[in-house]
């Protein structure tokens, strides 16, 4: 698999305050990685560093094979589509005029047809002539996603893409993000929404200044120790166990039965991602 985005031991401080310390992560082509963390954990600083907007004090960022430096940051930004936390559209201009400006800034060939393509992609073709300021929040977010995708970047960074959206709009945005995976883009999504992260992401990075965990949702839930199994007994009590392989479940049940316990149900025992997250960041549930 190809790492389209790689960060190696990134550190960034603002004055005396260290926003991000020693962060390493990677995102492969066709992969969605969710970046989770409490407020002030350094998510926005991380996104800005990865987008080439601010440079790290230490560490290396590689975007589509190019190491980002002061000299190459302008070039690296051509390979990145960034959705900022707020849509940041020019509200007095139409959606098409907004996107045309970005198509020109990226020096795309035939900007008009590129705008048409991306409007179709996000389902905004029929609203192209509307003033951006007149759009609903969900449609503004779609227009902002179109702006991030207009130059077909291999790496897409999405900062809180569904924040404040109604369920239908959030669903639409999630579907769009899913399409990016099918297009073989490397997608990094910063979010507070744990269920969204679990639903969308192939891997989840938990950040609180430092990287606390970085793995698939399944491994994070088990803490990397194996498979959790929940066994319910006739008397209503429950036993949670962790096995290394599924084949061990039968042995476990047999042993319990031999001990005289009456097993009525065996099911996957799921620690919720929320439990994992809260235990990692040290917050009170």
């Amino acid at each position: 698999m190809t790492d389209l985005l790689a960060a190696d031991r990134l550190t960034r401080a603002f004055g005396d305050r260290v926003a991000v310390r020693n962060l390493s992560l990677n995102v492969q082509a066709g992969e969605i990685v969710a970046l989770l963390g409490p407020n002030g954990a350094g998510k926005t600083t991380t996104m800005r560093m990865l987008a080439g907007l601010i440079l790290p004090d230490a560490g290396i960022i590689t975007i589509a094979g190019t190491a980002v430096s002061r000299d190459t940051a302008d070039q690296a930004r051509r390979s990145i589509g960034l959705l900022t936390e707020t849509p940041g559209l020019w509200e007095r201009l139409t959606v098409r005029a907004n996107l045309l400006t970005y198509a020109r800034l990226h020096e795309l060939d035939d900007p008009d047809s590129q705008v048409t393509r991306v409007l179709d992609q996000v389902g905004l073709a029929d609203r192209a002539g509307d003033l951006a300021g007149k759009l609903s929040k969900g449609l503004k977010q779609r227009a902002a996603i179109a702006r991030a995708l207009i130059h077909r970047p291999p790496v897409v960074l999405l900062d809180e893409p569904t924040s404040g959206l109604d369920p239908a709009s959030a669903r639409h945005v999630r579907d769009l993000i899913g399409e990016l995976r099918r297009d073989r883009r490397a997608v990094l999504v910063s979010t507070h929404n744990l269920s969204e992260a679990e639903q969308l992401a192939d891997r989840i990075a938990v950040l609180k200044t430092e990287l606390l965990a970085f793995d698939t949702p399944a491994v994070l839930r088990t803490g990397g120790e194996g498979i959790e199994v929940s066994i319910e007994f006739e008397d209503g009590s429950r036993h949670l166990a962790t096995v290394k392989q599924l084949s061990e479940v039968a042995d476990l049940v047999q042993r319990l039965v031999l001990e005289g316990r009456r097993v009525v149900r065996v099911s996957p025992g799921r620690r919720s991602l929320e439990d994992v997250y809260l235990s990692l960041v040290g917050a009170e549930p």
């Binding site: 603002f14 800005r48 987008a51 080439g52 907007l53 601010i54 440079l55 302008d74 070039q75 930004r77 051509r78 990145i80 960034l82 900022t84 707020t86 849509p87 940041g88 559209l89 020019w90 509200e91 007095r92 201009l93 005029a97 400006t101 970005y102 020109r104 800034l105 990226h106 020096e107 902002a144 702006r147 991030a148």
Partner: protein
């Protein structure tokens, strides 16, 4: 060529936004009227109301006669025409307020508008460099203010042709006026633009930023009053000297502007 492409892409966007926000241009157009009005009031209106020409009232006759030494274009005139020509030259300095006010009004909107709509961060995520961004943010206000300044100068000269004594307008078409509107005007405008952009990085509404830029009005007004009081006459060589000083000031402001417009500054220090 790429840089120019990006600069014009953003400047075109600013021009399109300006067309949809005519309110931003109101101070500039008001300034045109404000700069044209005093000269014609003093030179044409007041004598008409008083029923006596400037020569008959004796006002400014001595200053006008003395000005011939530093402004040889006045030499062929006498009497009322000489006083009119002298005063029209003095009041032409007022027109330099047009580029200051117009540039300030538009530049503050161009920068603070982006801040208010939170459009700077996505913009900074494109391949545009900070110098290109600074150039783009000043291009539309610069062209608009320059056009307006030249329009004001054209109206001023047309007014002199229509209302002034015969021959007065010819003196206004000399090198002094040319230097003022082709060299000093654009340089004053650039100073106003750069101060506006720098002020806009800290202000959150256009008016606050414009207050700082309005300080530029003071030296122009002071020079005008000093001229009228007979302290000195700013002839062509004086204007050239002023232009040189403005050029140096512009270079210094450009250095500050580039620092203010650095990506990190915009993202981490602009409020």
């Amino acid at each position: 060529m790429s840089a120019w492409h990006r600069i014009t892409a953003l400047a075109r966007k600013d021009a399109a936004e300006l067309l949809r926000n005519p309110g931003a241009t109101v101070p500039a157009f008001l300034m045109v009227l404000g700069a044209l009005f005093p000269g014609f009031l003093v030179v044409i209106g007041a004598p008409m109301i008083a029923g006596r020409s400037l020569e008959e009232s004796g006002d400014f006759a001595e200053e006008a006669a003395q000005a011939i030494a530093s402004m040889p274009e006045l030499a062929g005139l006498s009497g009322n025409a000489l006083i009119q020509a002298f005063l029209f030259h003095q009041f032409s300095l007022f027109l330099l307020l047009v580029p200051v006010v117009a540039a300030s009004a538009l530049a503050t909107h161009a920068v603070i508008g982006e801040k208010q709509s939170k459009a700077l961060e996505p913009l900074l995520a494109t391949p545009i460099s900070t110098t290109e961004l600074l150039a783009a943010k000043t291009l539309t206000p610069f062209l608009f203010a320059l056009g307006l300044t030249w329009l004001a100068a054209g109206l001023y000269i047309a007014g002199i042709v229509i209302a002034g004594e015969p021959g007065v307008w010819r003196t206004v078409l000399g090198p002094r006026t040319f230097i003022m509107f082709m060299l000093v005007g654009p340089l004053v405008e650039l100073v106003a633009l750069q101060v506006s952009v720098i002020a806009s990085s800290r202000a959150n509404d256009p008016r606050s930023a414009q207050q700082l830029t309005s300080l530029l009005i003071l030296p122009i007004t002071a020079a005008f009053v000093a001229q009228l009081m007979g302290a000195f006459v700013i002839a062509a060589p004086g204007l050239l000297l002023g232009a040189a000083a403005l050029a140096v000031l512009n270079v210094a402001l450009l250095a500050i502007g580039v620092r203010v417009f650095a990506r990190e500054s915009i993202l981490t220090r602009w409020r």
